[in-house]
């Protein structure tokens, strides 16, 4: 990512105060190792047992802040969701949320994040798929979770991820003839300078930047 440059040609944080102690350091979360502890093992074991293609489909397992994340090979996402929903020891009946994230620094920068809820066992799980911006395809999960319909449309609208097999993949929040996908990180925020009490206030994305 390029270093942000703000007003007065300031680069970086522009911090000259010596109060940099507002930073809280925390190690970057790496892959979790077995045993995960708690119910995480139960869920991953049950999925491994019920799903023959487990080792091909799961890229990583991350447990962070008490939340279980499975990184899934994009092509397999619908299969994995089907198993997670139907297997009696998993029973993720509710697809709470589908959304996108643009990790612009990564090669496969567009991530699609699914939050599933098991009402039976009162557990949650996060599935994450990463695709490239050049080839942003992955199967739609609408056949498994009909509620994903609009949320996949929103992810398409905002990030340009194409969900193959979606019944009606059109823009939902932006106008139909809009160019580009607004929530990608390389899409500018936009805005115009505003005059306030004689001073000109620049739009938020060109003000002094902190990191």
């Amino acid at each position: 990512m390029t270093q942000p440059e703000g007003l007065f040609g300031v680069t970086g944080t522009g911090d000259t105060s010596g109060m940099g102690g507002l930073v809280r350091n925390r190690p970057v979360q790496l892959d979790a190792a077995r045993p995960y502890g708690g119910w995480y093992d139960e869920v991953v074991d049950a999925l491994e047992e019920a799903y023959p293609g487990f080792s091909d489909a799961i890229e990583r397992v991350v447990i962070d802040r008490g939340e279980l994340t499975l990184h899934i090979v994009p092509a397999k996402i619908a299969e994995v969701c089907q198993i997670l929903r139907d297997d009696m020891s998993l029973r993720y009946e509710l697809c709470s949320s589908v959304s996108g994230v643009d990790y612009i620094a990564e090669e496969r920068r567009l991530h699609v994040v699914y939050h599933l809820t098991s009402m039976t066992y009162r557990r949650r799980i996060r599935l994450e798929c990463a695709v490239t911006a050049a080839e942003p395809h992955l199967p739609s999960v609408t056949t498994v979770y009909p509620t994903a319909d609009w949320q996949e449309r929103e992810t398409y609208d905002m990030f340009g991820v194409i969900f193959d097999g979606h019944p009606n993949l059109t823009r939902i929040l932006m106008p139909d003839d809009w160019d580009g996908h607004p929530q990608r990180k390389d899409y500018p925020l936009g805005g115009v300078p505003v005059e306030y009490k004689g001073a000109e206030i620049p739009p938020p994305d060109s003000r002094r930047a902190y990191r």
């Binding site: 105060s17 802040r65 939340e67 929530q183 925020l189």
Partner: protein, 441 residues
């Protein structure tokens, strides 16, 4: 045509298109050759008083029966999620509060809980802050349900219900104004605690509210429950069973009115809800009438929670101790709204250089949040309100996504409306209680 002033018509490749802005429906449809095409497409909205804001419904009709319903949303899209990536974590509160404008406290709480989880300071949130959050959320739940009752009453012909509903809601908004300085969009719940303490005058006012509200809920019930028109318009209308709800992602009172007691306050508690004594009301029918009963019962349960919260409100801090996160200013209510207290301004401007630097750094630059992602769901008045928040370690969110119940629940309208009557589309849609500000964000 004689009514050309009201209904302009033009020929298109798909047939004759009328633009209806008023006038007599019969004289408009009499202009259409009845044998030409049995089906007629009615475009309802986006500016229609019964669509709760700017929601557009495209209905394919056969006589009075809806054969196909399609929804068009996005008219209120304001790019809140994108904007938040350019503001500090604390400023995020002022953005999320504007999403679902009938439930601002819930948006703020979901967002703040997510940021606190990212920071790893959930345990440091003081009891008083948690109790105030619960208190405010339940007041907000009642005010949101009151708007639902008021607008739905109006849409189904019970006009007095609208007056009564808004009257009581106004009282709650007055309480909010006493506590936060604002009636709506108050950015009161912030990462780390709440913006300022609850004054004693507000507590007295809440007690007054607890006093008269049960009688008022009884009044609404007397007004509507046995009313023949109300029951005819709601019983057996827009039925959605548990399977349908879960498949379509519908949560909240709509799911509970089809018989499943799924309430995150009970099933996955947060903010100490597990310590409060309350019931989760359900109904087996899954129709509009059941949703009405569930919401009435929920208001009563919320009153119970508010009473308990008031009783356990002990003096104490309302922000975390951690000076690297806690907002430095002591906010005070002035003539022109909420702002820095004069003592605080005098302190940083006249006495302590370090306090000034501290204030300046934390207010302009903000605190940093360790990298990672969390998803925190809470039980909003419309269902599961989830905040998916991602940090890259900076002073601003890398990405914030709100799982808005209005957005998800609206998908159920075709399932409820198709095969029913046009008039029932209004009742069914209203029973979901969609708020378009939340839906479109």
């Amino acid at each position: 045509m004689s009514n050309a002033g009201y209904a302009q018509e033009r020929e298109t490749t798909e047939g004759k298109v009328f633009t209806v802005t008023g006038g007599d429906w019969d004289s408009i449809v009499s202009g259409v050759d009845p044998m030409h095409d049995e089906r007629i497409v009615v475009n309802m909205g986006p500016q229609h008083p019964s669509t709760h804001g700017v929601l557009r419904l495209v209905l394919e009709m056969e006589g009075e029966t809806v054969t196909e319903a399609r929804l068009v949303v996005g008219y209120l899209h304001t790019g809140i999620e994108k904007n938040m990536e350019y503001r500090t974590w604390t400023q995020g509160s002022t953005f999320v509060t504007r999403m679902d404008y009938l439930a601002p406290i819930f948006n703020e709480t979901a967002y703040s809980l997510a940021v606190e989880k990212l920071l790893g300071i959930e345990d440091q949130i003081t009891d008083r802050a948690n109790t105030i959050r619960v208190l405010m959320m339940e007041l907000n739940r009642i005010s949101s349900h009151l708007v639902w009752l008021a607008t739905t009453g109006m849409e189904l012909g019970a006009l007095s219900m609208m007056i009564y509903g808004f009257r009581e809601r106004e009282f709650i908004l007055d309480i909010f104004e006493m506590i936060t300085g604002l009636r709506m969009n108050m950015a009161y719940v912030r990462p780390g605690g709440v913006a300022q303490d609850v004054p004693d005058t507000a507590i007295a006012k809440i007690r007054e509210f607890l006093d008269f509200m049960p009688k008022r809920i009884k009044e609404y019930e007397d007004l509507l429950s046995g009313q023949p028109i109300w029951t005819a318009r709601t019983k057996g209308v827009a039925v959605l069973d548990v399977t349908g709800c879960v498949a379509l992602g519908v949560t909240g009172p709509v799911l509970r009115s089809s018989g499943l007691a799924w309430d995150l306050r009970k099933t996955m508690p947060y903010c100490g809800y597990e310590t409060y004594d309350f019931e989760v009301p359900t109904q087996p029918e899954g129709d509009v009438y059941a949703r009405y009963l569930v919401r009435l019962a929920e208001m009563r349960e919320s009153l119970k929670i508010i009473e308990q919260a008031l009783d356990r409100l002990k003096p104490g801090r309302i922000m975390v101790e951690d000076r690297k996160i806690a907002w430095p200013a002591q906010l005070a209510l002035g003539n022109d709204g909420l702002g820095n207290s004069l003592e605080h301004v005098a302190h940083i401007m006249g006495q302590s250089m370090e306090s000034l630097i501290h204030h300046f750094k934390l207010v302009t630059e903000g605190f940093r949040v360790p990298p990672g992602q969390v998803y925190v769901p809470i039980e909003g008045p419309r269902g599961e309100l989830g905040a998916h928040v991602i940090s890259d370690g900076g002073t601003r969110p890398f990405r914030v996504h709100m799982r808005e119940p209005s957005f998800v629940n609206l998908q159920a309208i075709p399932a409820m409306a198709e095969g029913g009557l046009l008039a029932d589309v209004i009742a069914g849609g209203a029973s979901l209680d969609p708020v378009m500000g939340g839906c479109d964000r």
